[in-house]
């Protein structure tokens, strides 16, 4: 019993949960951190990781384009793909990540009836994100998008390993494995 309590205390101490909320972004180079974002519906999470620098970042955005509400975009840049994604990368560079080494994984964009009463916002978010990444010269390493169920994801900053849980299913490690770091 004592041994089990000690083990659980060790695990909790080893895991510093950094929650990425809706229209939010977190970056970490702390190997004991775990980035997590919950209940992705039509929203999209962009998870980036530089294995050589051991820097991880996660963005959870809601809408494709900031042009619909520039004031809101100034106040909450992570709400939109076109303002949030560049900031995600810039924030990661500030912590030592290198664009050439960054691996991108994408989740969410499910087809749900959202607050805007629009079914296809998930798809539009995904299309907008692809355009932004293409223009930025970044390809996607892996993704799980679309469908109708919500997703919760987390990333261990120490290793870049990710786990995915879909609504109604058990959490599973998300493959494929990361590329070996160059240089």
């Amino acid at each position: 019993m004592l041994r089990q309590l000690f083990h659980e205390a060790e695990e909790t101490r080893a895991m510093r949960l950094m929650i990425v909320g809706i229209a939010d972004c977190q970056i970490s180079s702390d190997p004991e951190s775990v980035l997590v974002t919950y209940a992705l519906g039509s929203c999209i999470a962009v998870a980036i990781y530089d294995a050589a620098a051991r820097v991880g970042g996660m963005l959870h955005f809601m809408l494709p384009e900031s042009g619909i509400d520039p004031d809101k975009a100034r106040e909450r840049p992570y709400m939109f793909a076109d303002t949030g994604v560049p900031l995600l990368f810039r924030n990661a560079y500030q912590q030592g990540a290198d664009k050439k080494r960054i691996v991108v994984r994408v989740f969410g964009g499910a087809q749900v009836l959202d607050n805007h009463g629009v079914f296809d916002i998930g798809r539009r978010n995904y299309i907008a994100l692809r355009g932004i990444l293409w223009k930025a010269g970044v390809l996607i390493h892996a993704e799980q998008v679309g469908g109708t169920s919500s997703r919760t994801i987390r990333m261990e900053v120490a290793t870049g390993t990710m786990w995915l849980r879909r609504a109604g299913a058990a959490e599973q490690e998300f493959g494929p494995s990361l590329p070996r770091p160059k240089g």
Binding site: R130, W134, G137, L139, S177
Partner: protein, 128 residues
């Protein structure tokens, strides 16, 4: 050792996109040659060595089907792996081009990651 690629497509815009995908995919690219149709591609191949050819089908002067057939008739050229990149997504055409010796087939429109995956498969390289 870097790869030497030949892109054959009558659209300069599409050639630009394919070139960009190759560069962004992390391949060690030594040289990227381009041709607007099969006849120009054949002329280039008489002078330069390449490791892989990416070709469209619908092109003027010499289309992709004619180009592949002409390569097949040449012992040295016939060994170069070819990936077809075409708007024609019919099973008939895919079978036809694979029978002519194509090692891969990507239909337009494509995500850049799909082209990357097909190139990695044909070249036997993995960036993982």
């Amino acid at each position: 050792m870097g790869f030497r690629v030949l892109i054959v497509d009558d659209s300069p815009a599409m050639r630009s996109v394919i070139r960009r995908v190759i560069l962004l995919s992390g391949f060690d690219l030594q040289e990227c040659l381009e041709a607007g149709h099969g006849a120009d591609a054949c002329r280039l191949l008489r002078e330069r060595a390449v490791d892989i050819i990416l070709t469209d089908i619908n092109m003027p002067v010499m289309n992709g089907e004619q180009f592949l057939a002409s390569m097949r008739g040449d012992e040295s050229l016939g060994a170069i792996p070819v990936v077809v990149i075409s708007t024609d997504a019919t099973q008939h055409r895919i079978r036809q081009m694979m029978d002519l010796g194509a090692r891969g087939y990507v239909t337009k429109p494509f995500f850049p990651e799909s082209l990357r995956a097909e190139l990695e498969r044909v070249l036997g390289v993995c960036h993982a």
